[in-house]
């Protein structure tokens, strides 16, 4: 799981503050000119400070950052494929344009992933949904997110039961020619999930649901916003410096 239970100041911040903070931090990173290499280092130091404050070990974030690997591969290939001026590095002829483009993807992508992981490590999915609701995200979206969180496990269990039933009747999904049965199984799973969705909706309406989730979140005072946005203010300072010093 992405969430790491804790009781640090970062964990206790209202979710809406953390969402805004993460979003603005990513905007700062993306807006930074790619040749200002030091700025990206500064962002990383800022993130590390947040991890320290939240008592999230670097390993926790690093292991989950592996999701980024496909983008890293693209970034590493770019110096070989780019055009324009070329330079030699370790005996290889590399494109300067390509190297910079690759660096751009690598640095900004990695920082973006790390910011998201930090948010996810310190905020439960439920808090995230309430936070989005407090930020006036469309109610339909937050409701879908809530239901998805809850029903992912129910649907996975349903899929497991259907698979067990198939295997019990001699179906072996390892053989390619039986892929048809698996595909039809997915179709059946969709129909069953859809029907369940309808029943869930009926049950919710029966308990007086009108389209908005009850809000169990905390209101964010000025203090919380101030504290929560400190990293963003620092990131914005780095950004301003990076742009001005270019």
């Amino acid at each position: 799981m992405l969430y790491r239970p804790g009781s640090s100041a970062v964990h206790r911040l209202p979710a809406q503050v953390k969402i805004v903070c993460a979003l603005l931090a990513v905007v700062c990173v993306v807006a930074t000119p790619r040749t200002q290499f030091w700025a990206f280092g500064a962002y990383l130091v800022l993130l590390a400070a947040v991890w320290a404050a939240a008592a999230v070990p670097v390993g926790h974030v690093a292991r989950r950052a592996v999701i980024e690997v496909p983008f890293v591969v693209v970034a590493l290939v770019m110096p070989f494929l780019g055009g324009g001026e070329r330079f030699r590095f370790l005996g290889m002829s590399l494109s300067e344009q390509g190297a910079l483009a690759g660096w751009n993807i690598l640095a900004k992508g990695t920082l973006g992933v790390l910011v998201s992981l930090t948010l996810a490590a310190t905020t439960t999915p439920r808090e995230l949904v309430v936070g989005l609701q407090r930020l006036h995200a469309p109610a339909v979206l937050t409701t879908i997110a809530t239901l998805m969180l809850r029903y992912l496990e129910v649907i996975a269990a349903e899929a497991r039961r259907m698979r067990t039933a198939r295997i019990s009747r001699g179906h072996d999904p390892r053989f390619l020619w039986q892929v048809g049965a698996t595909a039809r199984g997915i179709g059946a799973l969709f129909v069953r999930s859809y029907e369940r969705g309808e029943r869930v909706h009926l049950a919710m309406v029966s308990r007086g649901w009108t389209g908005r989730m009850p809000d169990g979140g905390t209101t964010a005072g000025a203090g919380a916003w101030l504290a929560g946005l400190t990293p963003v203010v620092l990131a914005a300072t780095v950004l301003a410096a990076a742009v001005l010093l270019r």
Binding site: R126, V154, V200, A203, M204, V205, R207, P214
Partner: protein, 245 residues
Amino acid sequence: MTGPPALLVERLAYAYPDGHQALYGVDLRVEPGERVAVLGPNGAGKTTLVLHLNGVLSGGSGRIEVAGLPVSRSTLREIRRRVGIVFQDPDDQLFMPTVGEDVAFGPANFGLTGEALRVRVRQALDAVGMTEHVDRSPLHLSGGQRRRVALATVLACDPEILVLDEPSSNLEPVARRELAEVLLSLGRTTLMVTHDLPYALQLCPRSVLIDGGVVVADGPTRDLLADTDLLAAHRLELPYGFSLD
């Protein structure tokens, strides 16, 4: 009897949009405090009737009143508070991350907040004996516990009438008995839709038999279940080894 009945259904008829006529004129009157079983074979119209009671289905003919308040578009919110439906599959009913949040969902929708909401959640969980599981995920509970939490989510809305759809299905014998004890301890007006005839006998002094979209029998549960010919005519029978005389 003084005061309005807890539930009044008069000449309720309904056809689904595909043309299938499910109800052909159902009449039913339930007094406050009564526990009534609704019996009938599959496809008799039991679930269709239940979904009418809180206005989820409408558009047919006839009328329904809950504690004197007619079911109509303008009264829907209050009707849904007054009629608490516990659905057959707890997984359909429970969808919040924790038991406590799920129980709070209904009363919060009806406007309760803060301490009043917390008290209501505690009372509801207390009534079904699930207080210590308030912070657990419904997914990690046993079938019987889930059923009781589903009951608590509806009790928390403080309904005038409790409607249970197949409450004993998929329950092991002990969980089935525990649920019966909870239901008997509540002392609320209850309408229980079921195929489980011994359960109906245990919980409901009165039964209504529905088949083909009409009420075909209405009387003391024991009398109805002792009438083997009546049961056989409507695809019902007592489980093996049971007999009433």
